[in-house]
C-alpha cells in the first residue's frame, strides 16, 4: 500500500479517459461558469463532439417549451461562429421568442422532417457538416443504434448535438422515456420554476428553470434552479439560483423532489 488509494484511482481514471478518447483531441467544453455545476462534468463543462438529451417534465413532455428555451440558452455561447440547425416535426418554434434570449436567429436553419427517422438522419447530416456549431432535433427517444450514429456524427466535426425528447401531439403519455441505455453524454430534465418578481412593482422576473442533470457519462448528477442572465452580462447564459437536494437522495425519496 505504498501508493495511496486516491492516487491509484486517479491514475486508473486517467487510463480509462485515454482509452475512451482514442486518437481524438480533447474537445472544448461548454462551462456554466459555476463550480457547483461544472464540477459534475469530468472535463469541467459539457464537451462538444457529443450529443445530449433534454427532456421536459410533466406537460412539457409534449409542449416542450421550457426545454427549448433551456437549449437555446445553453447553446448560445457556441453560436458566436457557425450556424445552428433545428430539426422538428411540428413547426411551433417561434423565432422572436428565441431572439428574446439572445439566440442568433439569423443563423438558425429550421427543418421540418416528415417522421422520426428523418429527424435523426437530418440531425446526423447536420452534425457532420463543417460550419454547423450545433444541431438540435426534436424526436422521441431514439434507439440505441440511432444514438450511436449521432455520436459518430458529432465526433466527426466536434459539433454539439442536442436531442429534445418530445412526445407527438396527442401521443400516449409517459411511453417515450423508458429507453434505458443511450450513448448520449448527458441527460437533462427541465421544468419551469417560479420566477423572482422584480422588487419594485408587478410583472414577471427573469425566467427560471428547475434543471436536473439525470445522467452524465463519467460525472455526477445534480439538480439546480437556474435563471437566465442577459447576453450582455458575461459569457455564461445561466445564473445559479439555488442548489436542490442531492439528486441521488431526491431520486430515492420522491417526496423530496417536489421541494424545489
Amino acid at each position: 500500500m505504498a501508493v495511496p488509494r486516491e492516487a491509484r484511482l486517479a491514475a486508473l481514471k486517467g487510463q480509462i479517459a485515454a482509452l475512451e478518447a482514442g486518437t481524438r483531441t480533447p474537445s472544448p467544453v461548454l462551462a456554466f461558469g459555476n463550480p457547483a455545476i461544472d464540477g459534475c462534468f469530468p472535463g469541467g463543462g459539457l464537451p462538444s463532439g457529443c450529443w445530449h438529451e433534454v427532456m421536459g417534465a410533466g406537460l412539457e413532455d409534449e409542449t416542450s417549451a421550457a426545454p427549448a428555451a433551456f437549449v437555446a440558452l445553453l447553446t448560445r455561447p457556441l453560436l458566436k461562429a457557425g450556424a445552428v440547425v433545428w430539426v422538428m416535426r411540428r413547426t411551433d418554434l417561434f423565432a422572436p421568442g428565441l431572439a428574446g434570449f439572445g439566440f442568433p436567429t439569423g443563423r438558425l436553419i429550421q427543418v421540418k422532417a416528415r417522421d422520426e427517422a428523418e429527424v435523426l438522419s437530418v440531425l446526423e447530416d447536420a452534425l457532420s457538416t463543417v460550419g454547423v456549431a450545433a444541431a438540435i432535433g426534436e424526436a422521441e427517444a431514439p434507439e440505441l443504434k440511432a444514438g450511436r450514429r449521432l455520436q459518430l456524427a458529432c465526433e466527426k466535426r466536434g459539433s454539439f448535438g442536442v436531442l429534445l425528447h418530445r412526445r407527438p401531439y396527442g401521443g400516449p403519455a409517459g411511453r417515450a422515456q423508458t429507453v434505458s441505455g443511450s450513448s448520449s453524454f448527458s441527460r437533462w430534465r427541465i421544468a419551469g420554476a417560479p420566477s423572482q418578481p422584480p422588487p419594485d412593482g408587478p410583472g414577471l422576473g427573469s425566467p427560471r428553470w428547475r434543471v436536473e442533470l439525470e445522467r452524465c457519462r463519467g460525472g455526477r448528477s445534480g439538480a439546480w434552479v437556474l435563471e437566465s442572465s442577459e447576453a450582455e452580462h458575461g459569457p455564461h447564459p445561466f445564473r445559479l439560483v439555488s442548489q436542490l437536494a442531492d439528486h441521488d437522495l431526491a431520486a430515492a425519496e420522491p417526496g423530496l423532489r417536489r421541494a424545489g
Binding site: A72, G97, D125, P202
Partner: protein, 443 residues
C-alpha cells in the same frame, strides 16, 4: 387643332412602343413557344402543333383577339400557311381571316400590292404602271417582273405563296445551357443510368466552367424509346457547377425512373445561370471560407431531399400581429436588416391556432386569477400586461378586424412555474362576451 379642340396628342415614343411590343410577345408565349417580332407593329406566332390545345385554329384566334381586346390592344390577326400570307391577310384582308391549307393564292389575289411587304420604291412604282392588285402581278411573266423590280419582288411573292422559305427570328432562342448524350444501344440498367447522370452533368458543368457561369437549377431528362420523357431535378442554394456534387444530389432520385424498353437519349438543362467567379481550390480546409460556402452543400442536400418548403430561416416581418411577424426565407438569403423588438416578450412556442381556455378574472381588464387549459387548472401567480394588439384593419372586412377582434395579451406565470401567453379577445361592454385563448408558451 381648331377643328378638333378636344384632340389629345402625344409624342411618338419608339422605344416605349418597342418595349410594349416585346412585353406582348413574351405574353404570346402562352399560345406558342415560337414568337417573332415583326417590324414596329407586328408579331408572328408559329402555331404549328399548338392549335389543337384550343380546339382548332378558329377558336385559338378568337381567344387571342378577345384577350387583346379586353386589354384595349387594337389588333388584327390572320392565320395562313406562310408568314407572308398571314402578314398580308392581317393587314389588308378581313380581320380574323383563316386561310385554308394551300388556299392563300385565292385570298391574296384581291389584295393590293402593298400587302406583299415590298420596299418603298416598288410599292410606289407598281400602281403607277397600273398594277394595283396581286392578281395582276401573278398574271405577269416572272422574268420581266424580276428584271424591272429586282429579285426582291419575286422573292416576296414566292414567300407569300409558299414557294420560298422564310426564316423568322424567334424572340426566345433555344436555351444554350442544354446538352445531350445519345446512345448507340438503349440503356436500362440502374448502374448505367447512374453513370450517365455523372457523364451528362460533367458535360454541362465543363461548359459552364469554360464560360465562367454557374447555375442553380439542373434538370436531367431521360427519353425512353417509346417517346416518354422522365425528368429528375436538383436545385442549388447558390450557383454552382460541381458535377460531382450535382451527381450526388441527383442519384437518390433515380429510383423513380422506369426505363421501360430502354433509354436512348439523356438531356441536361441548366437554369438560372449567372456568372460565377472562379474560386481557388482552397489550401486550408477550414480557414478562409465563408459560412455560406460550407453550409451550402448541407442546405442543398436537405432541400433536394425534403423539398423547398421544409427548410427555412425565420426572418422578421413588419407586422405587430404575432403570427404574421415571422416570414420564411431561404436559409442562405442575405441577412435581414431589422430585428424583432426585444422589449416585447414573445413565447418560444407559438401555437398554430390559439387554444380556447376558460378563465376567471376579477375585474374586466384584469388578468385572470385562474384558468383551465387542456383539462388542468392553473392558478396564476404573477401576470404582466396587457399588451393590446389589434388586427390589421387594412387587410379584410371590418368584421374581421373590428373591436371584436382586439386582443389583450397577458404573460402569466402559474404556481408551478409555467409561463403562458394568453389573450382576451374582444372588449367588455360591447354586447358579446370576450373569450380567452392561450397562444403560446414561454420557456
Amino acid at each position: 387643332m381648331a377643328l378638333v379642340p378636344d384632340l389629345v396628342t402625344a409624342d411618338h415614343d419608339p422605344q416605349a412602343d418597342r418595349a410594349a411590343l416585346e412585353a406582348l410577345s413574351d405574353w404570346c408565349v402562352r399560345f406558342s413557344p415560337a414568337v417573332a417580332i415583326d417590324g414596329d407593329d407586328g408579331l408572328f406566332l408559329d402555331i404549328t402543333g399548338t392549335d389543337h390545345l384550343w380546339g382548332g385554329e378558329a377558336a385559338m384566334l378568337a381567344d387571342l383577339l378577345a384577350r387583346l381586346k379586353r386589354w384595349g390592344v387594337p389588333a388584327r390577326a390572320a392565320i395562313a400557311d406562310t408568314p407572308g400570307a398571314a402578314w398580308a391577310l392581317a393587314r389588308f384582308g378581313e380581320d380574323g381571316e383563316i386561310a385554308p391549307p394551300g388556299g392563300q393564292r385565292a385570298l391574296l389575289a384581291d389584295l393590293p400590292v402593298a400587302a406583299l411587304r415590298l420596299d418603298e420604291m416598288a410599292t410606289a412604282q407598281l400602281p403607277r404602271l397600273g398594277l394595283f392588285r396581286i392578281a395582276q402581278l401573278l398574271g405577269l411573266p416572272r422574268a420581266q417582273l424580276a428584271r424591272r423590280f429586282g429579285l426582291h419582288l419575286t422573292l416576296r411573292l414566292d414567300q407569300a405563296l409558299g414557294a420560298a422559305g422564310e426564316a423568322l427570328v424567334f424572340r426566345r432562342p433555344a436555351n444554350p445551357w442544354f446538352d445531350r448524350l445519345a446512345f448507340a444501344e438503349p440503356i436500362s440498367a440502374p448502374d448505367d443510368l447512374a453513370r450517365v447522370v455523372g457523364d451528362v452533368t460533367a458535360l454541362i458543368c465543363r461548359r459552364l466552367e469554360a464560360e465562367g457561369q454557374g447555375a442553380r437549377r439542373f434538370e436531367v431528362v431521360f427519353h425512353r424509346l417509346d417517346g416518354r420523357a422522365m425528368p429528375v431535378r436538383a436545385g442549388l442554394a447558390r450557383p454552382g457547377r460541381d458535377a460531382k456534387r450535382l451527381t450526388r444530389l441527383l442519384l437518390p432520385k433515380l429510383d423513380v425512373i422506369d426505363p421501360g424498353f430502354g433509354i436512348e437519349v439523356v438531356t441536361v438543362f441548366a437554369g438560372d445561370v449567372e456568372p460565377l467567379t472562379a474560386v481557388q481550390a482552397r489550401l486550408d480546409a477550414e480557414a478562409g471560407t465563408g459560412l455560406d460556402e460550407t453550409l451550402a452543400p448541407l442546405v442543398d442536400r436537405l432541400i433536394n431531399r425534403l423539398g423547398d418548403n421544409r427548410v427555412w430561416r425565420a426572418d422578421p416581418h413588419e407586422s405587430h400581429v404575432p403570427e404574421r411577424s415571422v416570414i420564411r426565407r431561404a436559409p442562405l438569403a442575405s441577412p435581414p436588416g431589422q430585428t424583432w423588438d426585444r422589449e416585447r416578450p414573445r413565447p418560444v412556442r407559438l401555437f398554430k391556432r390559439p387554444e380556447a381556455i376558460t378563465a376567471m378574472a376579477k375585474l374586466p381588464d384584469d388578468p385572470p386569477v385562474q384558468f383551465h387549459w387542456r383539462g388542468r387548472p392553473h392558478r396564476v401567480r404573477r401576470a404582466e400586461g396587457p399588451e393590446r394588439i389589434g388586427q390589421e384593419w387594412w387587410r379584410g372586412d371590418f368584421d374581421d378586424t373590428g373591436p371584436g377582434r382586439i386582443r389583450d395579451y397577458y404573460r402569466v406565470e402559474d404556481e408551478a412555474g409555467g409561463r403562458f401567453w394568453i389573450f382576451r379577445q374582444g372588449l367588455f361592454g360591447t354586447g358579446e362576451e370576450p373569450k380567452w385563448w392561450i397562444h403560446g408558451l414561454f420557456g
